[in-house]
């Protein structure tokens, strides 16, 4: 893809990408912004190359996830070197209404894979197969995380069991 085409794609998916980066950064908007910017730079300078093996958005979400993981590892190393006794847990997002705050809290309680699958399927409206591609896992594994994640989320939200 040419640079102009890449920029156009990135612009088209910018808002959705920010939502996914926010999820990957444990709802820390500043980290999400950094991750998103780093992702764009990697895409544009060719360090992350789109080969057309999946939809652009699916591939882009995979890159965002990798960049966010690398950023988390760097942050953990920095905390270790600076001997910080506490993990820097971002504060709750200001401006959330109670239902949204409750959903974020419930999502944070889920295992990472379950949270990622639910965010990709419900928030980003990907199919489970696309979510599996973005996460680099098998479809069956994604299905299992999807079902377990839904059940765990319902429990955390206090939603009644299905009749």
């Amino acid at each position: 893809m040419e640079r102009a085409e890449l920029e156009s794609e990135l612009r088209a998916h910018h808002v959705a990408s920010f939502g996914w980066a926010l999820s990957c950064c444990r709802d820390d908007p500043h980290s999400a912004e950094d991750v998103l910017h780093e992702t764009y730079l990697r895409v544009l300078d060719g360090r992350a190359r789109f080969r057309g093996e999946s939809a652009f958005r699916t591939w882009l979400f995979g890159v965002i996830r990798q960049v966010a993981r690398a950023a988390r590892r760097r942050a953990a190393l920095r905390n270790l070197l600076l001997l910080r006794a506490y993990a820097a847990e971002p504060p709750p997002l200001a401006g959330d209404a109670p239902p949204e705050a409750a959903l974020r809290t419930a999502l944070r309680q889920l295992p990472t894979r379950q949270r990622e699958v639910l965010m990709l399927v419900f928030y980003q409206e990907l199919t489970i197969a696309e979510a599996a591609q973005a996460l680099g896992i098998a479809l069956g594994t994604a299905r299992a995380h999807y079902e377990r994640g839904k059940a765990a989320l319902r429990t955390a939200l206090g939603v009644e069991a299905a009749p």
Binding site: H14, V15, F18, L41, L44, G95, K150, R154
Partner: protein, 115 residues
């Protein structure tokens, strides 16, 4: 699982999505000043560590050299060995100690096998 229940989850996530849309920053591909700041912070940290190491090495260079403890004079060693209290050792052991005690030539401090 009922479709209604999944719809309820979808509605919750849709509300979350619409809230996050308002938080999304503008699309911007300019080089990040924040990243440059972090790079500077890391470089500064590395320089500080290097400075501390250099100071430490310089201080060690100025410190007096390690001097191993000098051995006791041979005469003292011989006296200590020969004057071991006899009630501390059995007779045979005391004899062994006296027999095996190293002897030194007083002029050179070289150990000699027999005196």
């Amino acid at each position: 699982m009922s479709a209604d229940r999944e719809d309820d989850l979808r509605a919750r996530f849709a509300a979350l999505r619409s809230v996050d849309r308002t938080r999304a920053p503008g699309f911007d591909l300019r080089p990040a000043s924040r990243s440059r700041g972090r790079a500077l912070a890391w470089s500064g940290g590395a320089l500080a560590v290097a400075a501390v190491l250099a100071l430490s090495l310089a201080w060690r260079g100025q410190a007096p050299e390690y001097a191993p403890a000098t051995a006791a004079a041979p005469e003292v060693m011989v006296r200590l060995a020969v004057d071991l209290p006899s009630d501390f050792l059995l007779d045979d052991e005391a004899a062994d100690v006296r027999r095996d005690v190293p002897q030194f030539a007083p002029e050179t401090n070289d150990e000699v096998p027999f005196l």
